[in-house]
Symmetry: C2
Subunit: 482 residues, 2 copies
């Protein structure tokens, strides 16, 4: 990775400001936006800048024009539970990890079709252009060069890597195709990056709470977890991180910069830059899990921390599993100075990605239409967040707090102190509903009153009823607390 992130233009900045006001609930559904003339005067920008900003917001589905009466908020914040906004306060060192048994139990429950999947890690597969993708694959596989089984060996299909590099470029990052290693989903990318920079016994910084797959990877590799306080809106605490770097000399830092799983936190650009500079001072590689970056509700894709990397220390990992092709298992790493090590680890563990899947996604990206699909996907997720967040406010017990993520498909819900979400998980499951209880997101026994709620599935009668039931059960469990 060389070069720097693209600057936002003035109209994008304005649009972003307004989008954030909508998400924070300052501007609400149906509110009228200032007229173009008012906004131009008030913000000190040209009328054409305001026009462009409104146009962008309209294209994103955030506002809507009514003939002869201006622009109105078309979505946004509503009757919501109070925002979860207290940073976590993990114990300093977590020691050995043993979270797997619980995680597997939860995972299994979300694989059953008869269970309402609020605990699932995946969005609904119905959100994706699977028919179009299948057509592309059908055409591609029949033209596949027999030698692709050799040519597409790791680092992977050349045109797919070129398409990925082009998308980086469109987002203002310069990542060369030959830095990219195609992997079996982002999960393999993350695991390979971790293996490339650590040895058993090393310490690794993670967020608190964190994606359970990070805990499982650390557990499997014999690494110890340094859990660092993380803010539900803005991500990891850099002061606490620096202390951890000084005290524990970790060999890597594994973070989700954009719409963190489970919190939904989004690190502001300036904070990402400070993060990258801080880690560079300590020569600590950053494993950046950016699988949700495309699922933003604002006006532009949030910048990966990799955009600020000058030392080649940022290993950016992403995939098509959450935004285009679930089940195809095509992801990648752009591992900076560790690219060769990561490619070799892939060669010796799983050899290569599936050639037909790589070729199909490359062809789909070449054909165009991906961005249009992404716009629809983001809009659908945004609407579902609205609906689910309001339902949580209606049905969950008093004292419940929830995050208001500006992207992704998870809410992080804090139930009243002392509520046991492991008990709620069991109880809900007996009612055919899954949740992801807080303790699976931490190496120590923590977040016991928290849960992650997936809003990326169909919001239909069944889901509404299930959420009302879940709220009632949460109330019962909260009422039963000691």
């Amino acid at each position: 990775m060389t070069g720097t992130a693209r600057q936002m233009t003035r109209y994008e900045e304005l649009a972003e400001d307004i989008a954030q006001s909508i998400h924070a609930g300052v501007l609400r559904l149906g509110d009228r936006l200032p007229s173009v003339r008012q906004a131009s005067a008030g913000r000190g920008v040209s009328q054409s800048t305001v026009f462009q900003a409104y146009y962008l917001l309209e294209a994103r589905g955030l506002i809507r024009a009514r003939e002869r009466s201006g622009y109105y908020v078309a979505t946004g914040s509503r009757q919501l539970a109070p925002e979860a906004e207290t940073p976590s306060a993990p114990a300093e060192v977590s020691g050995p990890i043993d979270v797997s048994e619980l995680v597997f139990k939860v995972l299994e429950s979300t694989m059953r079709r008869d269970v309402v999947p609020f605990g699932s890690a995946f969005p609904s597969p119905l959100l994706f252009p699977l028919q179009r993708l299948a057509k592309t694959m059908a055409a591609t596989v029949q033209k596949l060069d027999p030698w692709s089984s050799v040519d597409d060996l790791t680092p992977g299909n050349a045109s797919l890597r070129r398409q990925i590099a082009l998308r980086y470029l469109a987002d203002g990052l310069t990542v060369q195709a030959d830095e990219i290693v195609v992997t079996n989903g982002a999960l393999e990318a993350l695991n390979l990056c971790l293996m490339a920079v650590t040895r058993p016994g090393d310490a690794v910084v993670i967020e608190s709470p964190t994606f359970y797959a990070a805990l499982q990877a650390l557990e499997r590799c014999g690494l110890s977890a340094i859990e660092v306080p993380t803010h539900p809106r803005e991500g990891i605490d850099l002061g606490a991180l620096e202390q951890a770097l000084q005290r524990h000399r970790p060999k890597a830092c594994w973070l989700m910069t954009n719409f963190q799983n489970p919190l939904g936190s989004l690190m502001p650009d300036a904070k990402k830059q400070a993060l990258v500079e801080l880690l560079a001072r300590y020569e600590v590689p950053l494993i950046e899990d950016d699988v949700y970056g495309e699922l933003y509700f604002g006006t532009r894709r949030p910048t990966p921390a990799k955009a600020f990397d000058k030392a080649g220390l940022v290993m950016h990992c992403a995939s098509f599993s959450k935004c285009l092709a679930p089940g195809y298992r095509v992801g990648w790493a752009a591992p900076g100075r560790f690219a060769r090590d990561v490619a070799r680890l892939k060669l010796t563990t799983t050899l290569a990605g599936s050639a037909p899947a790589q070729a199909a996604i490359a062809a789909y990206l070449e054909k165009g239409g991906y961005d249009r699909h992404l716009r629809q996907l983001r809009h659908a997720l945004m609407l579902r967040q609205d609906a689910v967040a309001q339902a949580v406010a209606r049905h969950f017990p008093p004292g419940t707090r929830a995050t208001r993520p500006a992207g992704g498909y998870f809410l992080w819900i804090e139930l009243p102190e002392g509520t046991d979400t492991l008990a709620l998980h069991q109880l809900a499951l007996s009612h055919g509903i899954s949740i992801a209880p807080g303790p699976i997101f931490s190496a120590r026994p923590g977040f016991r009153n928290c849960m992650r709620l997936n809003y990326g599935h169909e919001w239909d009668k069944r889901a509404e009823t299930a959420l009302a039931t879940l709220g009632r059960l949460a109330g019962a469990v909260a009422g039963a607390r000691p």
Copy 2:
């Protein structure tokens, strides 16, 4: 795994005997077989048994009937280099491994289309029914249930696992579908099995020479290699293995029972059974790499060691990469009592196999035609072995020995003592020819005068010329030895 291996019928035994005589060069191309009456009398079997045996051999392309004059050998042994038949004699403990750099260099050279791929690990992709498979995939992917991305998560696509279980059954093994874990090729299966039963610092038994991926896996996992003498025809030395079990208390044994890479050795059934019983006495799991088992030149698929497993200790690993669908990356493990551990390791490292590839192969197997393809594939490989083995005898320097494997697509060639195949590798590469030099198959610096030769590619003018050149270069390097 429960149950026992299918017994060979009398006519299969007879056919197998004759097939072995052909391969060993006792019966040669054009030789007339005994008449049915003679064979019946000589062997003490019924005439119908002889008929069935001859019919089977004819179906396999090993013999041919001429009208009114009986059966003749249609293929088989010819002017060959003396057989390589000295077991290896590795140093007892190998200590830490560092073979990777060399392996990667060799691997890279075999990925270049302008290089004649005698060093390649793969057979020619032109040997496979890729068009038919592509058609099946095209039809399958367009009917794929959107929820397959969830349903086909590890342990994998249910109908694929059922088809694999049916193939086990046809070979006389009872492996339930729910023991099977679909993986990203056999390489992932092997790696997951190794991880499931070892911890860093443990010792693992391997063959000498061994498939370099085993060395890389041990290196990556911080394991030490116990290399055990291995016979070019019959595989690992059980006496030496028992000594190693007593002395080093290894935590696993990683072997290729059928057409070992690089030797091509095939363990006889009785030896496999003794191996399984020996390991069971020491409670050591067997990781059985059986990726070449389908590529037999005899009359029936050689039995996996897993057929003799009563303790659930045999972890059988195989794939479709070498017999049906290179590049699709679909393999599996049947890991006995470790099935759950292997599935969980897969879930936390690569999550799942590619859903379209799994579904396509399942549909192909359901449709039938796989066995017909396999017969053609085996016959093609057998003919190529004939051709390449004869060319080696013609062009390689005096004192060269070669194995005569009864399956697979590798010859193991011993050049005159003192010949440096690393130098030959460099020299050959400068002539656009790759080989796999002996030292990449051992943790210690060994097998320096040996090389593995891939005969699974097109035997055309280019290949013939390249093999003549290689023989000449080998002579030059042999002549230059100290």
